[in-house]
Symmetry: D4
């Protein structure tokens, strides 16, 4: 493109002034490349972190996205706040368990085959697990849920192990001692994204215990995201699922 | 006994002076009771924590015990230091893996039936596991070792699960993420004493990760001792094993 | 049992189809063994951790247990929530001090002789001590309470030391500096389960101080459970008490 | 397969005794499935964590693998120890920068197209980066190295950004403040595995600073492994690269 | 006393039965000595830690003390709770700044000469400083207050330095960076009891910063009590003041 | 001056008594010098930390300043409290975003040329950034705001880099992983004051993550103030800006 | 004194020049007062912290003190370094157990009656206890040692309790869980200075456990100095002992 | 410049090919601007962090700088390593106290008037203070040293306060409790860069105590760099000094 502009200047079809304007845009070429790559993310909805934003802010950001016909996902939003948002934007759908709002504005999807396993031990970890599940589904990826399969009752995990093994990638959510990803990681041959939760008390230290457990896992193929970051766990998994579908 | 002394004083068979001497001993009655209870511990060898003691100190303490015909166990003692000790006390036997010295001076034993399961994940945790095993054996308790049965290769644990389940009590040693006690605790119906080890690196923080995991275990019936405290884990288990045999 | 099935197939008394069904059950043999062992726990009520569960969830889980004629214990449940539950299930009894709900549906008991000593320093630690006491009683074990016997007024402890020494096992609860288990551990010859509490302020760091004290105890025979985990302390003690009665 | 065995017993072509032996193997069916899935990992060399193992242990484990014609990778092994091993196993090749030993015994490879970007800021982080690179190469995956592209001289990163963007997955290694993964994560559209290193001093706290930075990254698509765990970072990346090639 | 009893038994003026009763009391001789020493504390009011106690508990404990004509001090009690207590016990006086209740029931005083300097930097530390001051005054010790003399405006400290130097002992209260005790300790030749407060934000970590500063003080003669423990600081100072008066 | 006084005494123009009074003032010479230097700070308004102060306290301190015709800035004051203050002092102006009250009572200004760049990544960090901005403006310094230029969208930073580079000093505010100061520090040649914020969750630990990142920055010329201390960041920057104008 | 100088100038017995010199010294009047108070410390030897200083530095500082006929105490000095110092200054006496050097150059003593109790649990804490004891003795205060009286064998403490109770002040040294000061504090009526030691392992965290225990002690009258700071504990005790003797 | 190139293409004095090459360089315009600004840093020597680099690496980097006639400063380099470097590059001068190597290759200086005050409490902090001093001097800035002026002997600080106040900026170094910057900050009206050191023991936690003290300072105008980062402290100060000279 640079070559082209210069030739046009040389043969007089482009004035130096006009060329200068075009090249000033061109100057940020590095970032243009970035954007080109960002386009590869087509089908990824924009995601709004709802915590600490007031309804008006959420409505304004959402409207800008809706205008561009993007799918919109809001995470970490309490029911009452969500209801205020939905008065202005009634096409949003609220999911209580995951505390998410979602609106579908296009049908671009990340994938057409394969699924993500969302594995989780206890009912207390459910909000984080559902945040992960709803995030992946908002990105158009199939999710299979394996809840209540914790380490202290490990036979329940085995009842489903084959279906978990056949997933492209697992997102394993655990609070308390956070041992589940180590066990799952030893039984599957795909990547395991582990999400520590702040569920627990005392020496749990708001999720620190589960976080350290996962970072120190002796099973290979396990990586970790921040405490309670169900969205982040799912986002990583969706990126990996997309690789499966685009390669 | 108090009643008796007073009657002897009343009937003149004991002078007030002699009675006073006996009663001054008696004064520490509470502690006398303690000692009476301590006698219940018969068969328990005295245990010397070798770390930070020089060979001369260890020899002196050992000799005092040998004179009372007690079994003597020294823990946390490096080979070179042990060899210096053994020059003076050649009846000691040194065990490299557990870094312990032991000398048997009587045949009083804690128990005659039942066994303690020592369960451990990796070869790096072996010194702590063997410290536990040798301690229990020094107390006259049968030990069965289940090594290399970690969480990341959980099927190896299952190959031995029935024998572990039949133990009176388990001592489960684990470093890294420390998840093994949670899994064992979910499979057995006896108490599990868990021992975190300092094996690991980075976010392991010298055993803190394993310690927190065990304290936060969602399996019931698990209690914890200090990091690398193989002796303490075994001591608790021996106390429980003794209950099985004396009740 | 496997041998038997195969012989029946060989002699035609069992069709391959029927045998396959039986063996598919048999496949989970390891877990069957687990369940067999779990049966040994007869008399153990199911326990529901009430924190973070709403009344409807608690009612549903409870009903399932009642149907199986199991005793039901709910821990960590505030009075108002308990009262909501009791409107549907009036046979529950609420205990304010321990914040527990209990319903007796059978008479299976863990033990018939011996008792657990629950030892505790201050009035602030009472909720945790009572959670331990009520848990052990729900499992059918006799409990003797020794409250207000803290380290700073150690003579009160000595007034009761003999009765504590005669217990099968002690559960020692302490907040602030958490020194009580060390003192008790030096005076008794049975296992001591120590429970740190979050009672304190400043450099107590929500129970961390008491937890570290107990993990570092220089008295032998002490193991530790999570901060404020009165239930866990009692559960360990009950398991040990059962050993006394079944061996 | 179960069906088949039973039919053979029924029609007499298999004796109950022989069937029993086969079925006892079969009993661990769940794990058999696991192994089936593990076979999918073909081309993955076995990896020996060299730290804390003596040369004899490493030689013995290596020989067992060589007998099965597996590729063997030893990580975290110092030069002098490696040289001792190589006296017995001269086919090993030692790499100083990554402190790894490698021996190629078969040509099974994980992949044939795509590459992993190993991105790293400073020369001090090189040992961890090279551990990651050599690990990935041992698994047969192409690696492209982008070293010395740290945050404080961010223009060097931009000079290579397009080649990084075209990778299947990035492994980003950083010590000190650990900010590099956030920057890379904002510029690429593939998963970023971040590896904190213990490089730094003072308030770095042996890598804690970099670890927390990465866990808190505001860029999406970033997951984290343990401090200095170059092997773990590469293993995750190889798993993802394999998905690209097998789907 | 033991001698006396035995002689009475010997000469028949005391029956063995009566002697036994007396000696069973005597048995706790060690503790009797303790109580003897405790009597030295005459003039010390009993102190009730009000936090976590309900008004009824406080009223009951107070009444028991009033019956023994002891002075009663209640610390850490909020105004509304105090007012409830005062409805039953109107002789209590509440002090808002220090959150203490006090009732004088006798005139025994710890001292007659000398004073304690209470030194404090900022208005935010005032509640802790006043808890210290009111505690010391309740014990009958003169207190002189030096408030608003912090490190960042150190000339205000110098305006009062001579009067501080003439105190028997100083209690220095400081939040934020907690540097004041180091400065005071370098200027006086008497003991300095330092009290860190939880005043601050961010990297103050609820008083940890001030606590560490005081523990690491390079000035000699400084000791530390728990965060926000104004009572403890004053109690130590009163003990030292009493030494000045009783020796 | 000392010389002068003594000569006046010697020649009888000053009585010893009068000289004594003058010299007693003179005694605090060191502090007099301090005050002389403090006068150099002319134009600096007094600043009241509003947190933990009640409206009456704030009004009283403010009035004392107004009497001296000083500009008054109150930081960390919530809207309702501010409104109470403004009922008594209606000349105050409240700024919601920065939670500051300001009243201009003189026109002395710190500077006449140059500006401070306030750089900030996300909308959640805005309150701290605005506290910094309003503080600097209250001191009469020009501020230019560069918000929403975070590390994960680094091209937005580049769009403004030249204007940031031309500032005298930058105050860079960041929460989450806190990587922004490292990036800015690598691109500018003036001092960077970095302010970590407590924005984040989980392993952010209330701003600890961002704080450690900034302390470990591998870019030179970066210093750090306390978490959320927007005022402190601005105060440092104003001091530097003043150097630019007075030298 | 100021008055005097001025009168001398007025009556011509002192020239303004000479007066100026005297007054320039006088200028630091505040500090003069300090020094006056410092003189009260007569008999206090100067103390050199030996750690991190080389023999030459120690020799030079010592010589300066010897010239002023002060007693000299060097703490934290290893034997080989001490021997090098003693080649130049053979009047020093080295004490192995406490790692101190001492030289007596005058007979001024802090006290003539009363003693300090040094109480300590285990042999591992002996170096810190002896550093405390030798420090107090270097200041001319009588010390009584009560070693090996730890919490786990509390009856040994009771054997000596009366002698401990009769001390003016106790210095209680403890590592591991650090519970001893709480027990002693509950039995005596004088101030207890507690010194945590770094003796322990695992969750001891280099003395943090003992430190927190002591800060959280529920016994009143306990204050704390830094980990392993035997010197600091003794220094505080000597200051208190001096109050007993000078009031 | 862009305009110029395009005009040359338009008038045929530059071929499109040549223009393309020039513009491809030009493409990184943003960074060009950066470099333009970097030129403002003239007189700044390049600085090599010596720790973890071997002599050969240091020699090679140094030679590259010498070729460009830059001044070269190497920090954190031990004497033996320095001597190896000086065999190849004998023009280097080694300074033992600061552990730095310096070679002057040009006379460009940052400044011609004003000075930096380096303030430091104890002899143990000297290596960090001297690293700061030598760094500033290597940048051509005058330094005045104020050592041994710690908080516990604050009158020594006052003896020099005027000279400190007249500095452009202070770098205050302190270990142990780190209180010195707060005191200095309250006495001067220029920016204070504070450097915590790792000098101390026990609850100092390798400099954490001093770091937190400085971050929490209640004096305004104080910012902080990493523990032991004397270089960083000086670098910030030099940047500020340069502002004084260039504005």
């Amino acid at each position: 493109m640079l070559e082209q502009i210069l030739k046009q200047v040389a043969d007089g079809t482009l004035s130096p002034d006009q060329a200068q304007k075009e090249l000033e845009t061109f100057e940020n070429l590095g970032f243009a490349k970035v954007d080109h790559h960002r386009k590869k993310r087509q089908g990824f909805p924009e995601v709004i972190f709802g915590e600490g934003k007031d309804p008006t802010q959420i409505i304004n950001i959402s409207r800008a996205m809706i205008n561009k016909q993007e799918n919109v996902l809001v995470t970490r939003i309490e029911q009452t706040k969500a209801e205020t948002v939905m008065k202005s934007l009634p096409d949003f759908q609220y999911d209580v368990a995951s505390r998410t709002l979602f609106m579908k504005n296009n049908d671009e999807n990340v994938q057409t085959s394969g699924y993500i396993a969302i594995v989780c031990a206890g009912t207390s970890d459910l909000p984080v697990a559902e945040e992960a599940a709803k995030t992946a589904e908002a990105f158009g990826v199939e999710v299979r849920r394996f809840y209540d399969v914790g380490v202290a009752g490990i036979h329940r995990l085995f009842a489903h192990i084959e279906e978990i093994q056949n997933a492209t990638v697992s997102v394993v959510i655990a609070g308390m001692e956070g041992a589940l990803p180590s066990v799952v990681g030893g039984l599957v041959s795909h990547p395991v994204i582990s999400v520590p939760t702040s569920v627990g008390y005392g020496a749990n230290f708001q999720g620190l215990s589960a976080l350290l457990t996962m970072l120190n896992s002796c099973a290979s193929g396990i990586s970790v995201v921040n405490i309670d970051n169900g969205f982040g766990g799912a986002y990583n998994a969706v990126m990996i699922q997309r690789i499966a579908n685009t390669h």
